[in-house]
Amino acid sequence: MHRLIRSIFAETFASPDLEAEHDAATLHLPGGRIAYTTDSFVVSPLFFPGGDIGSLAVHGTVNDLAMSGARPLYLSAGFIIEEGLEMEVLWRVANSMRQAADEAGVRIVTGDTKVVERGKGDGIFINTSGIGVIEHDLSIEPMSIRAGDAILVNGDLGRHGMAIMASRNALGFETEIQSDSASLNGLVEQLIQAGLTVHCLRDLTRGGLGSALNEIASTAGATLELQEAAIPVSREVNALAEVLGIDPIHVANEGRMVVFLPEDEAERALDILSKQTHGQGAARIGRVLDLQEGVVTLKSPYGPNRILPMISGEQLPRIC
């Protein structure tokens, strides 16, 4: 069984590094700063509209690297597989990862598989770690945020979480909502190469826009002001969210990021983003008010401001 599993991965991720069958991949890295990250993926169901645990694992780690402005190069992939998992599933996952990696321009160069007893794993768990190289002089992090910065997002929110919710539970809803799972390194590269002074990037994952911005606001000690009416949400995501009583602002995404940069560069950034596949629907959603207090506020269409809270735990469908 082990041999079968290893052959699936060896064949799908075939590359000179992997073929060498050594314990470690030997790589050439360009000089300068290196970015390094790791993440583990435990999504259920394994396959959902717009992606699967495999593509998620690739996009997620590529994006973590891209958020510091690094150019992602190599990924490792570790698999913990529950005994009895159909080989068919493994093939699909592996292929999906290969495809995602090719799209992002990265290579999966090393990996490992372990099999655990039935019942000890949710089908399959995946860990990916990634190496990237930083080829610019920018310091892309929350502390670089300045008062007056524009806050942009590269597209509409909430697709991933709603796609999962619709496909997972016996909630009984049928939708065409697809996860937005995607690699954002291409977008980031475009922004940096255009010479834009990107101050901060953050990919929106669990907890959505709400979590990401609250974390940034907290770290940077910045007051962020969002325009509620400017936050893009697609018709279907909005409809399903309304029916279930869920707020799209706190729903998970897997192919969305926020961009902080000087106000006078915002238009150009939006122009660049909107010309890319994963940047269509890019919008300006707010600005950095000041650096007095770490809080996120939301201006309603009627005028009053309210605090955008950090939501703990997953939003559950409600009847009330």
């Binding site: 909630l171 809803f173 309603s300 009627y302 009053p304 809270p309 559950l316 409600r318 009330c320």
Partner: protein, 370 residues
């Protein structure tokens, strides 16, 4: 979204606000009964937009909040039983019982399922004949038709592995209880629009007459709420105390007759304990004699005495409208959405949770002090 978005139009909101401003001459205290209305008011900042003469008090219209601790504890006890699939709306998952919440039962290995409809729970019973499916039937009159339907269908199809833990509560008795309090300051009500879609509003007439309060059937979107406020204020200014319908696109005077007939068939009026308020006679619906075989409380009697409320929890006063959440001593310190003391902090309809999420500027200072 059609029939939703139009009622959020900023221009219409401004026009209604202007009308309210020109009409009001004295301070008035209004209560919106329904948690969904509370949610909307705080989320859209409606109470901040209204002229300062108008005070909006948030009522006990959050069935999640008012479900007695005893019932939560009972639900938890049933959910822990092997062979039981316990189904509930998502709202109930994090509501604290006396020692735990339903979500923790899931972590312990209990088979707990979130459903969108009691009919889904019934379907689970059909698909899992070796298990006993129990549905936690919380909610006001709005939800009772769905619950009644699930029981009626079970009876019709001969499904015996399905039962309800009934916790339905009724709005008019709660309003009566509030109006009867010696320290009551509420002068007019915005009645719960979706409850009235089911029950109609004839039963509010005696209330309006006896207590001399305007009762305006109101919807949930900003335009609907402001329409309700405008009507209530207009009546108050003119010394009137009528029942008025400002949600006519959905509510008829006699409600939904087919739904009411089935409710009448399946349920009967019972006394209920309202969390934080106490026992209100004839304020709930329970299964009738002929349907008691679907009563989970009888199938799974509670064996031990529950411990009761946390001593520092003032949810009751909040629910009665005599304490604003941010004035509660435990607000934001001992009691937060992450570790709630009472139901009003858990449910997104709960006034305390709504305040915490949307209003408290103290939030940021707390974060800084951590």
């Amino acid at each position: 979204m059609k029939y939703v978005g139009e009622y959020r139009d900023p221009e219409a909101v401004e026009r209604l606000l202007e009308s309210i401003r020109t009409r009001v001459t004295r301070p008035w205290t209004l209560m919106e009964v329904c948690g969904g209305q509370t949610h909307s008011i705080i989320r859209f900042g409606i109470d901040e937009l209204l002229p300062s003469e108008i005070t909006l008090v948030h009522g006990p219209g959050c069935p999640v909040c008012v479900t007695g601790v005893d019932l939560i504890d009972h639900a938890i006890a049933i959910a822990r039983q092997p062979g039981v699939i316990f189904c509930s709306f998502g709202d109930m998952m994090r509501v604290p019982g006396s020692t735990a919440d339903l979500l923790s039962v899931k972590a312990e290995g209990g088979d707990l399922r979130i459903v969108y409809s009691p009919l889904d729970a019934l379907r689970l019973a059909e698909e899992n004949s070796d298990k006993d499916v129990v549905f936690f039937a919380v909610g006001f009159e709005t939800t009772a038709p769905a619950t009644a339907l699930s029981v009626a269908q079970a009876a019709q199809k001969g499904i015996s592995n399905y039962s309800l833990l009934t916790a339905h509560v009724l709005v008019p008795p709660a309003m009566e209880a509030i109006l009867s309090q010696p320290d009551n300051e509420v002068q007019a009500f915005l009645a719960a629009g979706h409850v009235c879609a089911v029950t109609g509003y004839e039963e509010y007439r005696p209330l309006a007459e006896r207590h001399r309060v305007p009762i305006v059937v109101t919807g949930f979107e900003p335009v609907d709420i402001l329409s309700g406020v405008l009507s209530a204020v207009s009546q108050l200014e003119a010394g009137q105390a009528r029942v008025e319908n400002r949600y006519a696109r959905v509510v008829q005077p006699s409600g939904n007759q087919p739904a009411l007939r089935l409710i009448e068939q399946v349920f009967e009026v019972v006394d209920r304990d309202w969390r934080g308020v106490g026992r209100i006679p004839a304020s709930g619906w329970g299964l009738r004699e002929g349907y008691r075989r679907y009563d989970a409380a009888i199938r799974y009697p509670l064996k031990h005495t529950p411990k009761g409320e946390h001593p520092d929890c003032h949810a009751g006063e909040v629910l009665r409208g005599v304490l604003k959440p941010d004035l509660c001593p435990a607000f934001g310190t001992l009691c937060t959405p992450e570790h709630p003391l009472g139901a009003t902090m858990v449910s997104s309809e709960g006034a305390c949770a709504a305040y915490y999420r949307y209003r408290s500027r103290a939030q940021s200072t707390m974060r800084a002090n951590r």
